[in-house]
Structure formats: structure tokens, C-alpha cells
């Protein structure tokens, strides 16, 4: 009997030893949204490979996500009001709640404790415990909330499309403190915080102009600039609202998409005045800075959405035009800038470019891919 047990134990030991071999550093993982199938593809960025498909995310036709500070969990915000906590190591959804009728995005607090979701129906912001997804706070609004972002000190900022007001929520103590920052303009459609946490920039759809709020002020106050920006004449259709998450902040400038025009607008960060314009291939959707470089990469709205262009922030000129595939929905860079990952929804693949040579280093099959999110975002304020 002893000999048998010993033999069995030895036979099983290698298996157990292998199972104990630690795996899964999370620093170079990523997720891409497969929008048609409500699934995520787990990516290994260094290996240029898909590791697993994760199902059960509901309606991801429009979705975004944010990561926990340890890069283990992704919080996925789906159009159907679903909030899903995904474990990248277990490769599955571990907690899921339908927390509203319709929502457009969310954020995680700087300390990783709270996850906030931005809702259309009913309008408002809900705040959840990041560990359990228990509801912590429910802040109703007079309309659809947009432009939700985290601020240092366990705070969040958001804006309301219908009323044109921005709000700051401080959740650092037991009782949340909500401050109305005032009127930002007519029908704000999106907003973003600069990477240094200094400025909240709000795009307006109901009138011309862009609004900035200095978040480091003791009393943050909306300030309108670029007063001729946007709000094109009635006879020029707007195909798609420009995503302010796509604004790039480079070299003392903001660069933003022209509304209804095939142009980039370059704006001086100090003076908030327009510096230059770049004629481009189509109506810009995302403009994203290539890390450690003077370049931004741009994709476009349908029907001209088969092209990506690279623009130099010093000369404001297009330096490269690429055709990665059909319906390019998103771009994401390797954190130090060596690669650009581009999703082609209608070719069902992700294309990986070398940002220096523009060679294609890899292609990864994915079903109707849209947003690509690397875990490095866990360490970036506002993402």
C-alpha cells in the first residue's frame, strides 16, 4: 500500500509543481472589445497573441473599461447599463450588475476603491465598491451624464447634457459632497481631463466653443474658449461626435477634431487660442499621442474609416497615411510607444504596427473588434 501511494504521489507531483509555478504577470496584458458578440479578447502584448475569449459581457456595441491598480481586474461599462468586473487571471467575469437602463462609461478612483458609472437612463452617476460592486452612492442628475473622470483624492467629475452643468463629487469621507461647478454651455457631449489632472475640457454640441475648468483652482470655474469652434451650419451633416477621449495633449498644445470638418485643430495650452489646422483624410474620431514622440495618430468616421494618419505636432503636417483595413475603430499604443495596435472591425482583426518603421509586426484575429485597452492604463490618472 505504501509503495502504491508513493507511486501515485510521485506521479501527481510534477503536475502539482507545475500548477504552483507562478504565472500571469499582468503588466503586458490587454483586452479588446468584441462588440458583436458581447465578449472580450484577452491579449498578451509582448507575445502579440490572444490568450482567451471571455464571454458574458452583455451589450458591448458601445463600451469602455478601466483597470484596478494591480492590473488584475477590468471594470467594463456596457451600453446596456451593465457593469462587469473581469478577472484577467481567472479569465472570466467575476461580478456583474445591470445598474441602469443605458450608460456610456465609467471611471475608477485614484486609490482603486470606488468605481463610478455614467448613466443616461435614468440620468445620473452611481458609485460602487470596486471589490464587491456593492452600490455606495447614487447621484441623480437632471439628464444624461457625460464626461465622467476620476480626480485625485477619491473624487469624480462629470457633466450633464440636458442642463449644461458640471459636478464634482468628493467621496473621500463617509458622506459624499457634491459641488455644482456651474454652467459649462449648451449640450455638452463629452469631456476629458488632461493627463496631469490640471484641466477638464468639455466639448459643446449645442453652441460654438469649448469649455475648460482649471481643476487646481480653489474654486474651479468654467471658462469658454475657441468660441468659433464647432456648431457647423445646418446643411453640413455631422457623422459622428468627436470623442474627447481622443484628444491629444502634446508639446504645449491640445489637438482636437474639428466638428463636421476634415481637420485637426491645434490649440495653445496656455492661451487657449488656435495655433494651426491640419487638413486630414476624414472627420477625426480619435486623436491619440504616440508616447515619447512628437506624433499623434488619427482615425476617422464612416465612410472614410479605412485610413489612419500620423501627424507631427511640431509642423502640424501629415507624415504618414496607412490603410490598416476596413472600419478602423480604435488605436492603442504600447506604453513606451514602440507599437501601435489598431482595430479593424470589418476585417475582424487587430493590426500591430512598429511606430518607427510602420511595418506590420503582427495581426491578431478578433470578432468585430472595437476598443483596445492595455493594463498600463491602471497607472494613468483619468484613464
Amino acid at each position: 500500500m505504501k509503495r502504491l501511494l508513493a507511486a501515485t504521489a510521485i506521479a501527481l507531483l510534477p503536475f502539482a509543481a507545475q500548477a504552483q509555478d507562478p504565472c500571469c504577470a499582468t503588466g503586458d496584458l490587454g483586452l479588446v472589445i468584441e462588440r458583436a458578440t458581447g465578449s472580450l479578447l484577452l491579449l498578451d502584448r509582448s507575445e502579440h497573441a490572444a490568450l482567451a475569449q471571455i464571454s458574458g459581457l452583455g451589450d458591448l456595441s458601445h463600451a469602455s473599461m478601466t483597470y484596478s491598480p494591480d492590473e488584475r481586474f477590468a471594470y467594463v461599462f456596457g451600453r446596456d447599463g451593465g457593469l462587469s468586473k473581469v478577472d484577467l487571471l481567472k479569465r472570466e467575469v467575476v461580478v456583474r450588475t445591470i445598474q441602469a437602463g443605458n450608460s456610456i462609461g465609467g471611471a475608477i478612483s485614484d486609490d482603486g476603491e470606488l468605481v463610478a458609472v455614467s448613466n443616461y437612463t435614468p440620468g445620473g452617476v452611481k458609485v460602487f465598491d470596486a471589490d464587491t460592486l456593492d452600490l455606495i452612492a447614487d447621484v441623480p442628475a437632471d439628464g444624461k451624464t457625460i464626461g465622467l473622470a476620476d480626480l485625485p483624492g477619491r473624487r469624480f467629475i462629470w457633466t450633464v447634457w440636458d442642463s449644461g452643468e458640471a459636478f464634482l463629487g468628493d467621496f473621500s469621507s463617509d458622506s459624499p459632497v457634491i459641488t455644482n461647478l456651474g454652467d459649462v454651455g449648451k449640450n455638452p457631449y463629452d469631456a476629458v481631463v488632461t493627463g496631469d489632472g490640471h484641466t477638464y475640457l468639455i466639448g459643446l454640441f449645442g453652441e460654438k466653443g469649448v469649455t475648460a475648468i482649471d481643476l487646481w483652482d480653489d474654486t474651479p470655474t468654467p471658462r469658454k474658449f475657441l468660441k468659433d469652434y464647432g456648431k457647423i451650419e445646418d446643411d453640413m451633416p455631422v457623422y459622428k461626435m468627436p470623442h474627447l477621449q481622443g484628444w491629444a495633449f502634446t508639446e504645449g498644445q491640445f489637438v482636437l477634431p474639428a466638428v463636421g470638418r476634415h481637420e485637426l485643430l491645434w490649440v495653445d495650452r496656455e492661451t487657449l487660442e488656435e495655433k494651426a489646422r491640419t487638413p486630414v483624410h476624414g472627420q477625426p474620431v480619435f486623436i491619440i499621442s504616440q508616447p515619447a514622440s512628437p506624433y499623434v495618430w488619427v482615425n476617422y468616421a464612416t465612410p472614410r474609416n479605412g485610413v489612419v494618419q500620423v501627424v507631427d505636432s511640431r509642423t502640424h503636417e501629415v507624415v504618414k497615411t496607412l490603410e490598416p483595413g476596413k472600419a478602423i475603430l480604435h488605436m492603442e499604443f504600447a506604453p513606451r510607444g514602440a507599437e501601435a495596435w489598431v482595430s479593424s472591425r470589418d476585417d475582424n482583426k487587430i493590426i500591430v504596427y512598429d511606430t518607427h518603421t510602420f511595418e506590420i509586426k503582427a495581426e491578431i484575429d478578433a470578432q468585430s473588434p472595437s476598443g483596445i485597452f492595455f493594463t498600463a492604463r491602471a497607472h494613468q490618472p483619468g484613464l
Copy 2:
């Protein structure tokens, strides 16, 4: 026999299942150097706890490190010329080589493929395969190399104390291409690349001034600025060379330590002209930007090294003076800025501050701690 095997298999199964439970997301890990014992303490940033001590790192009296892109491995550069590859999941040194007589630092390429080390004895730069630590290239220099940093495109930049020349090494093809960028000044003692990869800043010990090289130029060229900076009179002793890794880049300004004075110097990034000075507690050693804020935190050289101050980059004034303990050697922030981790060598502990309230959130025992390095550095160009 079958029943026995079955029973044994079942008895072992829970153990095997537990062993398979994935662990070890690496996003919120960190390492602190225990300089007196040649060891590292593995930290869990979210838990405010030490997880393990890792030994066998040789002489860490002066050491630094960089991380692999997946945040699994740390490459530790020791004063004794040791280069150690540390596995954060296995919690041990997995490869180690004594690659020179005396070295001061190193860097990892943007794609994570190469690790370069900056050597004093013999002078030069050696480049290793990041996976195996096999020697890939050996670039001798006419003296001690300083200011080694990675640049996009699998390149490195460094400077030579004795000859005053800077070099760019391109390792992206089979044959390295080394370019001499020219004379930067007398006895450059340290250098650093700005976070956007735009400018290489070089501190001079042998003459007044600081030198900048625009890395985005087709022909990067040294340019002297702040021509009255440094090189104090002979009768004022310099206790410690200011660490240029401690320079902070905030709000259109550089802030750098005065040489031999109890002051910070604020310099306009565009014009390279001095804007302001801040009188401070002692001779600054590290000046580090608090993420998503207008603040920088400063520590000081012996004997006034029991104090840390917080300075506002907008007003250039000290806003807080802290006394964390004896011999404060280093500071490191939580990636989104919520906490500041401070090492007290002579109190043998790390103090964790809430950056908004300045409350002490935790203290962690450590033996003669010096540098603190969070894995988030894996995603930062130049770190």
C-alpha cells in the same frame, strides 16, 4: 487498487486546485533596496505590506533598477558592477552577472528586449539580452559613463564624464550604430530624459550651465543654457551631487536643485530661462512631481536630511514641511498620486503618506531602505 487510487486522487485534488488558483497580479507590486544587506524587500502597494525579502543582490550601497514590460522582472544595477534579474513572482534572483568593476545604473529598451548598463570601471556601456542576460554589445568609452537612458526605437543615450561627450546607440538592427552627439560640457555628472522623450538634460560639474539636447531633431545637438547655474565658489562645499533623476517636469517648467545652495530653480521649458527660485530646507537631492497635481516633493542631503517639503509649481512656494524620520533617501508616488512612499534609512522604515491630507497611512519595516521602485515604472519612457 482502483478505489485506492481514486481516493488518493481525490485527496490530492483540492491541493492541486488551490495551487492552480492564479495569483500575483504585478501591477501594484514594488521593490525597495535594503542597502546595508544587499537585499530587496518586495512590496504590495495596495496592501501597504512587505511580502518577502529577496537576497543575493551583492553591493546595493548605490543601486537602481528598471522593470520588464510585463512587470514580472526587475533588473537591478549594483555599485559592484552586478546586474541581477529578479523574478517578482518567484521572489528570487533568477539570473545574475558581475559585468563590470563598478557601475552606476542601467536602462531597458522600449520594447523590453535589451538591458543596458552604465559602467565606470571599465568605462563604457554594455548591452544584454533582457531574457538571458547574454552580452549582446560592448561599447567602450573614454571614461565613466553617466546619464544612461532608453529612447524609442531600441536606442540608448549616455554621456561620458571624462571626455564630456554624449552618445546615441541604435540597437534596432544586427549591427549597433553609435553616434557621437558632440561635446556637452566639462565633467557631465548626470543626465535625464524628459517624460515625453523630447529632451536630454545634462548636468555639468566642471563648469557652469546645463546642457539640453532636442532628441526629436534629425541631428540632435547639445545646447547650453542656464549659464550661471552651478559651480559654486570654492569655499562652499557641495555635500552631494544633485540627482538629475530627481528633476521634475511640471506645467511648462523644469525644476532642478541648486548646486551647493538651499534652493530650487524653476526654468521655463520653452525658453530655457530661469523663472523663479524657492528657498528650501537644505540642499535638494530628489525633486519628484506628485502625479496629477501641481506639487513637487523634495528631500535633502545630509546633515539636513530628516525633512521632506512639498512645493507648489504655480506659486513656487513651500506648502508643507514633513519630518518622516532620519535620513530620508528617496520618495516614490502611487501611480495616480494618492500616496507618497518615503524611505527613512536610519529609522529602518518606509512611511506612506496620503498626499491630500498628509496623514501617515502606514509604516513598513525595512533594513536601511534607500530606493523605492513601483512596477508602474515599466510603462514610463526613460524609467
